[in-house]
Symmetry: C2
Subunit: 582 residues, 2 copies
């Protein structure tokens, strides 16, 4: 009985502390060793428990919630390989800077590495990929250990949230019997007369003297560009567009920068660079002397090459989380300062420019490229290019658009244009995997409605299990599956020029009729017939409930031809324009 009292007091203190830090969602995968934690959590009135049998999907589901709420979400599983299934989502959380609290149950010390059942070495299980690991003390109810349990809870949540946000792992050894004592109000804890620990997380900023010096430098340039990748700060759009207006530098906005869609000023935002920076004349015409970079590396390869070619330019990389996002070793100043703070300060220390010839050049090329996008819109048959071109028009205001990796995110980059509909665009771009996409999107749907997920068939297949969350919890999600029956991206890569092993190794057609799977998860499945059909269903989509899957069947070969034709024609137009302008 003493064991049971200690177990309960220890876990109640820990769980109460988690709730105090703001954690309210916990994704639990069923298991035996994790019983005491699961039961104490289920007892807390402010915790929402989501059950997910497949731990891989469970962790991505939690990642989806954390991604849209910017708050740590806890995941709980039993000992053994269950915990290993969390690994992909943990790595994604680390590189995409999403807070996650990983709680694993373990055997006690005497049952470790001695052949006990379902016991694996869980110490530092995720290696360097978590920000903090603690192997917890065995449950005790002494004042010291209760204080310890509560402090670790507060600290773990704080570390997960601290910039760069990321995953934290706590490993809990539990002895049998595993049942806590729940017959009274276990969260009334007398052992904490001084209240809970509140952690105040600071932000990185640099001194005004340094910011003045940087502002002076920037004001000395006329030919500058601002490059924005994925960034999770609602205040940033206003700050960076103000900076752009002040300096007359165009903003090259990655779709995940959240700058292409919203109520902020869109005038200086360039979004078709992935197309026009494939053209050599444009690259000469638009050569910058200074580059400001915010957020993750943008996904456009054309832009990455352009940046590399402009190694002569001074390049400022601003990172409020103190990382090192510079794969081509191009930065001349690495500035560890909150990005919004940086923009506001530089604006304050700069003088307004009334005109910007360099900015006008970028905007002219961008406009020309957009004008030529009509080519893509003319496609009569279902095509990937037109789908992404039409998305902004088809989605309702305030929608969340979750985009799968591989081709969908690249097509989105090419064809998703500036609009004022405040469409939030998200993706798993920490490690760019195709795994866990369905679960992340459904997790995000819990707090961000309506949500549309657009992904390829291999990505859909990889996390089919994730659909069960929609069934079990009646979560509304609309999924557009772009089904080109295999790995469409490889047709764009040099592999495609070597037909001998191509279909075996890269094409990998699965020939699956997803209607069966969608039915199993109680969803509605519709195979799209033509553009009118898609438009009609998208119009109705705000009304439908539960899981709705729309399959758009495309063809890998004709998709390649469409893209190449488009790039060739636009490129000719751009060359003509640039030669005329010079």
């Amino acid at each position: 009985m003493n064991h049971q009292i200690s177990l309960t007091a220890y876990l109640a203190a820990f769980v109460a502390e988690l709730v105090q830090t703001g954690i309210k969602d916990v994704v639990v995968s069923p298991g035996s060793r994790s019983t005491p934690m699961a039961m104490v959590m289920a007892e807390h009135p402010e915790i929402n428990i989501h059950i997910h049998v497949d731990e891989r999907s469970a962790a991505f589901f939690a990642l989806g919630i954390a991604r849209v709420t910017n708050k740590p979400v806890a995941i709980l599983c039993t000992s053994g390989t269950a915990a290993a299934n969390y690994f992909p989502a943990i790595i994604e959380a680390r590189y995409s800077r999403v807070p996650l609290l990983v709680l694993t149950a373990d055997r006690p010390h005497e049952l470790r590495e001695v052949g006990a059942p379902q016991a694996i070495d869980q110490i530092h299980l995720y290696g360097q990929h978590v920000k903090w690991f603690a192997d917890m003390a065995l449950p005790e109810s002494s004042t010291e250990i209760i204080r310890y349990a509560r402090t670790v809870g507060a600290r773990a949540a704080a570390i997960a949230s601290q910039a760069p946000a990321g995953p934290v792992h706590l490993n809990f050894p539990f002895r049998e019997p595993l049942i806590p004592k729940l017959d009274e109000d276990i969260f009334q804890l007398e052992e904490r007369p001084m209240g809970y620990v509140k952690v105040r997380n600071g932000e990185l900023t640099i001194h005004d003297d340094e910011l003045k010096e940087i502002s002076l430098k920037l004001n000395g340039y006329t030919n500058g560009i601002i490059v924005c990748g994925n960034i999770a700060d609602d205040r940033f759009a206003q700050a960076v567009t103000d900076l752009s207006e002040m300096l007359k530098f165009p903003i090259l906005a990655d779709p995940l920068s959240q700058l292409r869609s919203g109520q902020h000023h869109l005038e200086n935002i360039v979004e078709t660079y992935d197309t026009f920076l494939r053209n050599e004349d444009a690259k000469v015409y638009l050569k910058p002397d200074v580059i400001l970079r915010f957020g993750a590396m943008p996904l456009s390869k054309a832009l990455t090459i352009f940046l590399k070619e402009n190694h002569q330019a001074e390049q400022f990389v601003i990172d409020g989380a103190g990382g090192w996002r510079d794969p081509s070793s191009l930065s001349t100043e690495m500035i560890y300062c909150n990005e919004t703070f940086f923009c506001e300060k530089v604006v304050a220390f700069s003088e307004t420019r009334t005109s910007g010839e360099f900015l006008e050049k970028w905007l002219a090329v961008n406009d020309l490229t957009k004008a030529n996008m009509a080519l893509i819109k003319d496609s009569q048959q279902l095509s990937e290019g037109r789908l992404f071109y039409e998305l902004a028009d088809m989605l309702p205001k305030g929608a969340t658009l979750f985009v799968g990796n591989s081709m969908p995110i690249r097509d989105l980059d090419s064809f998703f244009h500036n609009n004022s509909k405040s469409i939030k665009v998200i993706a798993n771009r920490g490690a760019n995997g195709i795994d866990g996409t369905v679960s992340t999107a459904i997790g995000a749907s819990l707090y961000s409605q309506p949500l549309y997920l657009v992904l390829g068939d291999l990505t859909f297949f990889h996390d089919l299990n994730g659909l069960i969350a929609s069934k079990l919890y009646n979560i509304d999600v609309k999924i557009i599956v772009v089904n080109n029956n295999g790995g469409g991206i490889f047709s764009f890569l040099p592999q495609s020029e070597h037909p001998k092993h191509f279909e075996l190794l890269f094409g990998t057609p699965l020939n699956l009729d997803f209607e069966h799977a969608v039915k199993m998860f109680n969803g509605n499945f519709t195979r799209i017939k033509d553009w009118e059909h898609l438009q009609e269903l998208m119009n109705l989509s705000t009304e439908v409930k539960g899981l709705n899957v729309y399959e758009v069947v495309t063809n890998r070969e004709s998709n390649l031809v469409e893209h190449r034709d488009f790039w060739r024609i636009v490129s000719e137009e751009i060359s003509n324009f640039v030669k005329g302008a010079d």
Copy 2:
């Protein structure tokens, strides 16, 4: 071009060396960074490439092949979270001592931890869970580096195979362009005039003097038992049954010991101990003075408790792989010696006993328990107990029986009896996870036919994606899904006495109609109506091809009642017998 020549020569040398070590199966998950290795492997005439989009399933599929062939199988994936999806199978391979060669593609050094796309820290990605990790040199074609590549290949395969067999991880950094030069016979390698490295892996043995000393000790005891868990050595059955016959010690044979079914002597093999060791009278009646343990810890909890209660007994743990399989700290001698060698030597150094009263006692209780199993067979409705009781009769000779974790393996332990049908029983008992079961079984089916997989509904759901291997490669597999709509095992655990959160946290019904999923993977699905129906389908099962799923719907509550009734009635019989015998 120099780059391409180096890349090709380096990989050809490595791949040729793998083939020389006996590796012929490679499971490849499509990706870009892994292109050069995939293309060179596809070029080798002796390599079978199996494509698996989901890396988690891919690794378990490879594990299944390795489990039945006892040879290392290679798995290959691209950089990023793809590699993290391998983690569950790697951990299972480690703890169940199965050789696996994990090949991951990586970005080159200048693109690591600098925000490059799809780049994660892959150095020591699997921590302590692999036997060896090497971050490979960048491809070069100097004689030294070619020798290095081939040597690492030979060494990696040898380490994976060395007792205890397990996973080895090689991480290959590749620079673009990623296409090898395949226009001539790349495997004719002049750089190796001295031929390949052949590694001769030794076995642990102890000296004859020590074996004589141990034999003398053992011959001093009359009340001894031999406990055999999972062991992968075809010669062991003969050796240990000879030893048992010599010493007149009964063999308590775990279902994974491969001792319950075969052409060896079955007379001294006790298989119902999980039932009768729940009875206190039997435990007193059968008290041993010496215990010999071989293989992994047996799965029976009743046996584990019995061993703990007999801490007074001298306990010899024989492990040919030098591990420490002793969760209750009971061993008095830990003997690092090949198990077959040990048995043969002790037999040679012992004198034959003509009778054994202690052995007869064990066999009598075992016979009595078996006689009472008729109770289970009488069940008219579909039930889990009777299913496992009937399995040995229903399966064809020489079949492989793959058993899912959680309840199925426990029911098998209780109800699968001695027979001469040479049924090979396998399961993922390294870490006892429910993950990857479908894939492991289908991988095993490639080399072990006919194969029957019996598993629960949650386990089936966890690895539904694994079914695609049967579809893509026309692999024959018969799957019996015991569908009790949730976590049946928890009804047997103390959690079930706390109804408040039970269905939420432990019951976890998914209410899935698996017929949809099976159809998607081109399989045949049959819901079993009654025992005659099942018998009929099992009779026909040797004729059917491809994926065949038989669903046996059971009920968690009545299952619990059936088991409890059975244990109670048998226990009464045993007590009566023991009291009569004393």
